[in-house]
Structures are given as C-alpha cells and as structure tokens.
Symmetry: C2
Subunit: 695 residues, 2 copies
C-alpha cells in the first residue's frame, strides 16, 4: 500500500499541470536548497537576482560542523568562523587542569600555537546531483515494504560508493528530501585536521546566561575561530567570504547560509493540535517540576550545584524553547495559516484522486494523534523512564533487558540490542562517568512521586514499585540497594549476559518491564507506523503540488535563507534591530555585574578603548532554526555582516511555521567582532586577516 | 437531618459505655486541651504527672499573638519572647526610611527606647468553661438548619457577652471544638500596648533563607522580644517562665505550649486520597509553573526581582510545604494508619446504629471528593482565577460583579457582597498599592496559556477569551486596555454601582462570568454542603467515641504538646538533635558566605568571643503545626529550654497525621539565645533579665 501510493504521487509529479493556488509562502520564508533558490521571491521583493557564481561562492564558503552547527571560511588561509557555543565542546576537550579555554578563552598568535581538535570533522558541500529517478527505479511496484526498504538502501549505498573517495577526503551522502519526494546525492569535501585559533571568554560569549537566552536585546560575542589544515599546512581557500567594510544597516537585505537541523513544517493540523493541547503542556509540566527540584537542591550547597548544573541548564533551555513554541501554537493566526495550507493540499489531493483510491492520510494521522494523547503519559512514565528518573535505573534496565534480548535471534530483538548497536551499548554501559547517590535519590524520589500520582497510589503496580515505602524512602533503598553503580559489576554481567536477581534496582526494573514493553509495542504499532506511512504519502503529494517552488523540511544539510535586518514590536514597544557596546556595559551595571552578567576582566579594563557606539548584536527576519548556529550572515555582495547565534523567543515557532512579524534571528554584528578583536583582545592580526589586510 | 444526626451522637456521648479499642494515638501525639491534658500518656511513657499548678502556670505564661503566632512571658516585667518571623510584620511597620529594623535588628537598652507597636494584640488564656450543654440546649429538634444556626449563634453571643469586659481588657470567645462536639467558653486577658524590645538581624533570624526553609540541620536565631505595658508601665507578671540554667539534653522530655492554627486530622481516607492523587499534585503543578515563571523573570533584572520577590517567596514556601505533605500522603504506612482509625470509627458507628438510621457519611464524603476531583480544574481556572492570574483582572471582576450583585436584595447576593463585607471590600478596592504592567502581562499571559491548555484551544470560551490573539498578545491588550488600575476610576464606578462596557479587562471578566458562577454554584451545592453536614456528623461520632481521651483538630487556641529532644534518620544517616554555633560558621563558609548564607557583620566580627560549642538549634518529637511559631519549649520544671520556629520537611504531614519517627519540631536553643545576646549583641542586660539576675 505504501508503494502504491508512492507511485501514485510520483506519476502526479510528472504530470503536475493542475491549476491550484500557489504555495502560501510568507515574505522571507524558507530554508532553500541551493539547487532551487528563491529567485522569484528575491526578484519580487528585493529586486535582486543572485547569479550562479554568487550562489556557488556562498555554497562553497559554507562549512558544516559535524558536531551540530554551521560555519564559514573567512580567509584565504582556511580560517573558519563559528559560534563559541559550537566550538565549546572542542574548547572543553582541549582544556587542561591548568588552562580552561572554555571559560578563559584562547588565542594562537602564530600558526605553531594553534591547537589541533580531537575529533572534529568539517564538511564543505561541493556538488549536488538529483538521483530521485535512480532511487525510485530500484523500487518495484510488487515489492513488499521490507523488500522495498532494502532495495532503496542498496541503490543509495551504491550511489554513495560511486562518488565517495576516502583518500581524497570526499564524502558522499544521499539526502532524503520531502520525506522521500526527492533524493539528492551530496558530495562533500571533508576536513579532519581542524585547529583552534581564537575564542573569547565564555562570560562574554554567553553574556546573560539562561536569563537572556532566547531573548532580545542581547550582547553576546558568541564567536570562535578555527583553521583548516591539510598535510600539516593551512589550506588555501578558493572560496571564502570577504568582510564587509560597512557592516549592515536596518532594512538591508541579508542572506544566511547554514545547516538548519530539523523542522516539522509538514506536520498536519492534527499533529500541531496534539503538541499544542497535550504534548507541549505535558512536557512543560515535567520540565517545570524538574527545574524547581534541581534549582532548590542546587541552592542548598556548592557541591549540589556542581552536580546539578549541567542538567539544570539543559532543562531551562528546553523549557524556554517549549514555552516559545507553545505561544506560537496557541496563536490562532498561526493555526489558521496551517489550516489554510492543509486545505490547499487536501483540495489538490481530492482533485487528483480517483474513486478507487480514497486518501485517508489526514484521518489516519488524526487518529494516531488521538491514540498518542491517550498513551503519552503511560509511555512517558514507563518506557521513557519518567517515573524512574535515575541513571542507575537506566543502567539496571539495560542490563535486565540485555540479558533477556540476547536469548533471541538478531532480528527479533528490540532494535537497541541489534548487532549493529552492541558496540555503542557496551561503550555507554562500561563508562565510569561519576554517579552521585544524593542526586540520584533526589531525582528518583521525585519521579516515583509522579509515577504514583499518575497511576494513583492505590494502583497495584505503584504498590509493587513502592513496596510499602514512601517515594523518598524507596528511592533511598533502591539507590543503596544496587551494585550497578560499579562498572566492573556491569562488565561482569554484560559478558555473562545475566541480570542478578538480588539487586534492588534490577528488581524494580523487572516489576515494570512487562507493562513497559506492552505500552511501547502498542505505541509503535498503533501510533508510529500508521503515521509514518501516512506522512510519507502526504509528503509526496505536497511535493507533487509544489515541487521545487517550495523547500523541504530541514535535514541538517546546506540551505539558503534570506531576510531583512529589522527590529520588531513587543508589548507595543519597538525593539530596535541593533544593540551597541554601550548597551552591554549598561546591562551589566543594571544587574550589579553579577552572575551571568559579570563582565570578563579584559572587558572592564579595556572599556575606555572601545567605540561604545559599535553595533554589537542585531536581528533579522531570516528563516533559521537549531543547526544554523555559526552561520554567516552576508549582504548582497556576499560579504560577512554578521554571525547567527540565536533566535528570539518568538522565533521558536519556526519549528512549525515561518513567521516574519516578530520572529527574529539574532546575530553578532561583524563590526563588534573587529572592534573587540582589535581593542579588547589586542588581536589585530586576526582582525587584519578577516578584513583581508596584508600582514 | 443535620440536627437529628447531631442529637443522635449527643445522646451516644452521654451513654458511651461501649467496648471498643482505645484511640490509636502514637507516642508523643497530640495538641492537647489544657482542660484534658495527656496525663495518662505522660505517666506511662515518661513517668511524669504535671499537677494543676504546673499546668496553670504554663497556661498563663503562654501568649497568643493575634497576628498569627505564639509567645510566652519570660520575665516578671512583662517581657514576651516570640520568633523574629512572628514579629516581622511589626518590625516592618516600625521601620522608617532611615532605619530598617526588620533587616538590621533593634535594641532598646532602656524602657524609654522601647517602640510601641501599631496594631498588635496579645491574649492570655485565663479561664475555660465547658458550655456544650448550654449551646446544645438552645438548638431544638424541630428547627430547620437556618433557624438552628441562628439560635446557636445567639446563645454563643450571649455567653460571650456575659463574660467579656472591654474596660478590664477581658475578651471572651466560645470555641467550637470537635466540629461541634464540644463548645468551650475561653476568657482571655487582652493586651494592646505592646512594645518592641529586641530583634536580631533578619540574616541571622532567617539564615539559609528559602534553601534551608523546612530543612534540618538549621542555624537560625529566629527570636524577637516585646514588652507588655498597661497604663504606660510594664506589667508585673504573676506567671512567667524561668530560664533553664542547663538547657535541654538529648532524650529529655519537653513541652510546647502554643497555638496550633489548623489541622485536618479528622479528614476521611477519601479526603486524603483526593489530596494525594489530585489536589496536591495539581496545586504543585501550578506552584512549579509559577515558580519557574517568576524566577526566570526575576533574573532578567533587578527591577523585576523587586516586583516578583514577595510573591516568589510565598510560592516557594507553599511548594515546600506541599511536597512535604505529599510525601506523607504517599507513604503507605501513613495511609494504613488513617484507614485503621477510620475502621475503628466505622465499627463504633455501625454498633451504635439502628436499622432506621443508616450512616452514609463516609460514602457522602467519598462521593463529594469524586465530584471535587472532577470539578477542581474548571473551578480553579474560572472562579479561582487560575486562568487569569492578574490583579487587574481581580479588580475588574469585582467591579463587574459588584454592579450586578448590588441590584439584588441583601441576602440574595454572593456572600462577599453581603452588607457586612462591603466596608472591607471598599477598603481593598480603593487601595493604591502599586500594580506593575510588565509583571501583570507576564502572569496573565502565562495563565491564559494554562486556561487555553485546560479547556483546549479550540473551545469556544477560549476562542472568545483570546479573541484571535496569542496569550502573550492578548495579555498585553488586556493590561493596556483597562482603566481599573486607577483607584479614582474604581471609586467612581463603585459609587455609581456600574461596570463600564468599554473596558477590555471588564469585558473579558464578563465573558467568563456565567460559566464561572455556574461551576461555583455546582461546587457549593454538590461538594461543599453535603460534605460539611457529613463531616459534622462524623466529628460528633468521633467525640462520642473518644471524648476527652483525644484532642480536637487545631483551632488557633492554646494547646499543650510534649515530646522528646531527639534526632532522626534521613537516607540512613543519623541527623543529630542539636546543631552548634560552629556549624553556623561552617555552613556559611561552605556557601561562600553569599545570599541567604551571608552572616551579619556583627556575627563575623564577634566570632572569636563565642563559645562555638554552644547548641544553636535542636529538634524534638513535639506535635506542632503553623501557629506554633514562637511557642516556648519547657522542661519538666517548666523552665525555658527552647523556642519553636519551624518543622522539618518530614513534619509537613502533621497536617493530617502525627508521625514521630522522622517528623520533628525545630527550636532555637535557649543557650544560643543567651550566648548571642551576651557576646554578639552586648545585650547582657536582656540576658540577665531572662536568667532572672538582678540588674
């Protein structure tokens, strides 16, 4: 059935001469493929038409950080610009006990001082080939789903193998776009010798911390520079971005070239309503609870704070992101637009349909979302461990299930115990990452309380889990009564493929294992699978309708966005597009120069040197999302005017829908980069390199 | 029906010679009436029997702070000891722009320096008379509920009037005990000229702030001293508590004499299960959400922090209290005890019942709790304003309802608009307390989101309320579009008894008014009233069963508790009963002497003077609850050994049930009071007065 529908829409695609309304794109909407850039939109709104050379130059100056971000070449000598928070992982790995580069920053004045990163891979997209026909040709109409899946994987693997060349550093990926509406073969130049050149202090890169995260106005110097080497020498770049002499101005057209990670703009209205009415509120409830729990515990001692800090930041970041997304979903104007888009697709599908082929995809998805809403709390509590928020529990359950699953054949196991996964499972399981009993008890007691509340404390399962104790007492007993904290103990049982009977934590994992597996199976068969098939059919219909007049959901591959440098209105007040350096000092002062608002020493000492009118951060209407961090912002001449590092809270709706009134991408201004390099860091040599001045 | 049942149990009470098991009191349980002290328990467990003189002395040395706490006379010259947090309100009222006594403390070395409090009333209980027979005699069998209610009020008013004497400062209250099982006429000596004598800094009184609130070990000097005057002279006390020379020791018997405010120990199991499975979890969800909202907003600027601080502290305090209570309710051992108590009462009632009089009270209450669970979210969102968390909304609704209600007769109105309430309504409505637009928008936007989530964003009512906007936009429109912020505007409409049609906030209040009134009415008639009648019948049965072998739920009247100075176990570790002064300095140091752990200047400077082994705080098994703050802790000789100021987190279950294993009352040690007065505050004169040394 899946195949048949797929072929049906493929046929439509070829003969798509139907008269239907044009896609309802918003001004400045889109994360466009370089093979189908928004030429019409740019011409109409901005009277600007980039030519092929312009596009190729920007494409080949763009860099993908495989650790999860974007960057760009900004000098002929392989200098790469990205965000401090994109480089943070490498800054941490390069730090020593004596030198904390993440916190204090780094500068290599000469080539010999540049530090080689431990496992960083950068990719540059060199060529794109449409292989949709080849991939589709390999899948025959009479194949069952499993055979079709394998056939598709085989042709893709063949296409990739034909181009990839490890010796030459050529990587090839077939990218699935429009949920299978199109397949493109991407060829990348791959670099693995990446060296750290410069980073400022974390305090200025993340100025304002969680309090100002996703907010605007902002004052962050979220930048970091690396250099790409081959054969122990900096590469010579054919394509790199020049620095704009003037920087950007309000109302100016700008472009963003980067790697948006994932969007859900093809979600149906039923899926969005599930998220709006059930998914997000429930997740927020859990995040709020955890934030309060961890925050109040962290405040009780410095030791607690260190143990909880990282997890707490992650919770706060998610909480802010979800609140922003939920505001968008609760905006009737947003939902009306999604409804209109869906109606247009439905009309198209109805017109294309014959009486023997009804198209129940929307209903299938809506029914799936209803089941999901009914099951989400059970599955969260049981299979997703929401009722057992403890690393030790996670380990105990893994050991228990591993011992059960290894008795089965390779293909009968739960996928996470499949042959291909065992190496990484072992790697995780044998890790000697420290686990803190007190922190474990705190989280486990709290989650056991939610578990009891969810099912009702009189539920048989709850009684078995609590074993006559209060959640707090039980958490203590479980954490004290398990040996899975010891990596040697884990190794022993992993190798023996056994799970000890007398371990308290393993025993509790056993209590919930049957209902947990049952709800997971129901979820997979009643929600996931029907939805996956329906979504794929819809994606193909959408592609048949709009083809390359549209853009696919984000896939962490290179995209081109565009927009205007522009402030926005919040609570009736104008928020200007630009902040300046004086604003940084004002903000710090108004916060008593404390906590996340404390300025690094150098910024205090060098204040008098600075032109305080220098623009610091700015916002634009460009269409971005997570993964775009570190993307260059360029003007019509293709010159760097900024560096993407965040979105405002209103932009968090971009996951589902583009909105250009109040959603904004937040960038570091190119002028702040130069001003601070020259006057705070005495790194004129780097500013010179960026500005193309001779050494 | 109510009357009939009431008489039935009254009859039983007289002839209660039934053989049933004794009340299942726990060791050290009880907030006992002075007219029915736990002599048997004290004799059995401690081999100590206080005589009438001992009891009278402790009773008449005890003081009620009508602002909501307890205290005691501690010198012949009318010196009264209580907590800093009990005196805080008066410390604040006595402060000036120049002198912040709440923050910095206060000392009056001489009588003339003592500051007279603005509106503080203290009461000392002088006599107790059982008037149950008189009250019951006034209520005849054939009276309907309303007539019976009035008749009871009349006889009570008459009894009070017969004893009260304004000129002599004698106050009389008939206190309803055991939900009407007994009526006692309490005669108080009333004092209204109360002067501030001494208070330490808030930083040492509340050392540890919210982080350590309800926790143990603790290091708080939560004390404050007043003096009682009559005719402009300190009174001469016949009864006051002497200071113990040695202080207390672990395992020693101690007594607490104070005014517990309210307990719910007569709740049925169904009521407790409602709280456990629905009420507390739902409230905690809302508290968590608000705490995260206010906390993250407060962190964005100092101005925000000031606006949100007070509300945030209240939320955190409630959150901690509920988490503690919920842990208790989720403890199967606690619930098993409540079930056993209930079974015992059921057995008694079944044995006493005749076939024509079934006793469905437990079922009535259980049915009421089911309805309550089904209605609680609707009523919270609508009538309790959970969906409209905004002062401006509250004012707008009051103006709207006032204009509607004033068209009705006195007795037809909602009670809050009854003739007796109009004065205080006006007082509140005309207040010019500042209201901050940004804070209002923050809270309203958040609560409108919860409102939309609760009913579902597609619900007609939600659509009307949001009017096509996102919650954030709508909140801004409502706050900007109302004039009710202006007290003059309110006055005008209050006097004209009108509600303007063109005010955005009043308009939104109007949109929800009909469904809000409807759910309130359903709640009152289907939950409140049936439960009230059933609970009253159960209370009388309970009294018939146990009479004065038990103690009534707390009523903010004088009670005697007792217990042992004793540590407890937490996570398998022993928490010792006493902390010492060295622990204070250690805790401050380990927290970097920051925030709530920052020591006052004097404590830093005078450290060398102190005997750091001096006990600071201690815990005991005494049965206390909110209202007991400031209660003296005395030994067998009736000498002061401590000053109650808190309970540990485990004690929060005491609202429902006494628990002596891990629940603890927390006191300031009498030795820390003397040591700090002499060596930190150079207030040897006050220490001398406490220790009864001649001046």
């Amino acid at each position: 059935m899946k195949l048949l529908r797929s072929r049906f829409w493929a046929a439509l695609l070829v003969a798509s001469a139907m008269t239907l309304s044009a896609p309802t794109l918003q001004a400045d909407e889109g994360m466009w493929l370089y093979t189908a850039p928004p030429l019409k939109q740019l011409k109409e709104k901005y009277n600007f038409v980039p030519d092929a050379k312009w596009l190729e130059h920007l494409q080949k100056s763009s860099v993908r950080f495989n650790s999860g971000g974007s960057g760009s070449f900004v000098s002929a000598n392989g200098l790469v610009m990205t965000n401090h928070h994109v480089g943070a992982d490498d800054l941490q790995k390069l730090s020593t006990k004596e030198k904390d580069y993440l916190k204090d920053g780094f500068e290599a004045k000469e080539s010999k001082d540049e530090l080689k990163c431990k496992a960083l891979e950068l990719n540059v997209l060199m060529a794109i080939q449409d292989v949709t026909a080849e991939v589709n040709a390999a899948v025959k109409a009479d194949m069952g789903p499993a055979v079709a899946f394998k056939a598709r994987q085989q042709v893709i693997a063949g296409l990739e193998k034909g181009v990839a060349d490890e010796a030459k550093g050529v990587r090839a990926d077939v990218v699935t776009l429009f949920s299978g509406g199109a397949y493109h073969l991407y060829t990348f130049k791959k670099y693995t010798d990446i060296r750290l050149v410069f980073a400022p202090e974390k305090q200025i890169a993340f100025f304002g911390g969680d309090a100002d995260n996703f907010e605007y106005p902002r004052f962050d110097l979220d930048m970091c520079f690396f250099r790409v080497y081959e054969n122990d020498k900096p590469i010579v770049c054919e394509h790199f971005l020049k620095w704009s002499a003037a920087g950007s101005a309000a109302e100016e057209l700008i472009f963003v070239s980067g790697h948006p990670g994932r969007t859900n703009r093809q979600n149906t209205v039923a899926e969005l309503k599930y998220l709006r009415d059930t998914g997000y509120p429930y997740l927020l409830q859990r995040l709020n609870r955890l934030e309060v729990l961890l925050n109040s515990w962290a405040e009780r001692s410095e030791g607690n704070r260190q143990k909880a800090e990282e997890e707490l930041f992650g919770i706060q970041n998610s909480r802010k992101a979800r609140i922003g997304g939920l505001q968008g979903l609760l905006d009737p104007k947003v939902m009306a637009r999604k409804q209109a888009e869906e109606d247009r697709l439905k009309k198209f599908m109805a017109a294309a349909a014959d009486s023997r082929a009804p198209h129940p995809e929307f209903d299938v998805i809506a029914a799936g979302e209803k089941k999901r809403a009914a099951m989400i709390k059970d599955i969260t509590m049981l299979e997703n461990g929401g009722g057992f928020n403890s690393q030790l529990f996670g380990i105990a359950r893994t050991l228990l299930r591993y011992s059960d699953e290894m008795k089965k054949g390779d293909t009968d196991r739960l996928p996470e115990f499949g042959p291909a996964r065992l190496a990484s499972l072992k790697f995780q399981l044998f890790s000697d990452e420290p686990i803190h009993d007190d922190f474990e008890i705190l989280k486990l007691a709290d989650s056991l309380s939610t578990f009891a509340t969810h099912f009702g404390a009189d539920h048989e399962l709850v009684k078995k889990v609590l074993a006559g104790k209060s959640p707090r007492e039980r958490a203590f007993d479980l954490v004290s009564g398990t040996k899975v904290k010891d990596p040697e103990f884990r190794k022993k049982h992993f190798e023996a493929k056994t799970a000890p009977e007398d371990d308290a934590m393993i025993a509790v994992a056993k209590i919930i294992d049957e209902p947990s597996r049952a709800i997971r199976k129901r979820f997979e068969t009643e929600v996931d699978e029907p939805k996956r098939q329906a979504a794929s059919a819809l994606a193909k219909a959408r592609f048949a309708l709009d083809g390359t007049n549209s853009y696919p959901d984000a896939t962490f591959t290179l995209r081109l966005s565009y927009g205007t440098v522009k402030g926005f209105k919040e609570d009736g007040k104008d928020v200007p597009a630009f902040t300046t350096m004086v604003g940084l000092y004002d903000r710090s002062k108004e916060q008593g120069n404390k906590g996340p608002f404390e300025l690094p020493k150098r910024w205090v000492e060098k204040k008098a040197n600075l032109d305080l009118k220098t623009p610091f951060n700015f916002v634009s209407t460009a269409d971005i999302i997570g993964g775009n961090s570190g993307s260059p912002v360029v003007n019509k001449k293709g010159e760097v005017v900024g560096l993407i590092f965040d979105g405002n809270i209103q932009s968090l709706v971009l996951d589902f829908v583009y909105e250009g009134e109040i959603s904004r991408a937040v960038s570091v201004d190119s002028r702040a980069i130069i001003e601070s390099l020259r006057k705070v860091y005495d790194a004129g040599w780097l500013a010179d390199e960026l500005q193309g001045k001779a050494k």
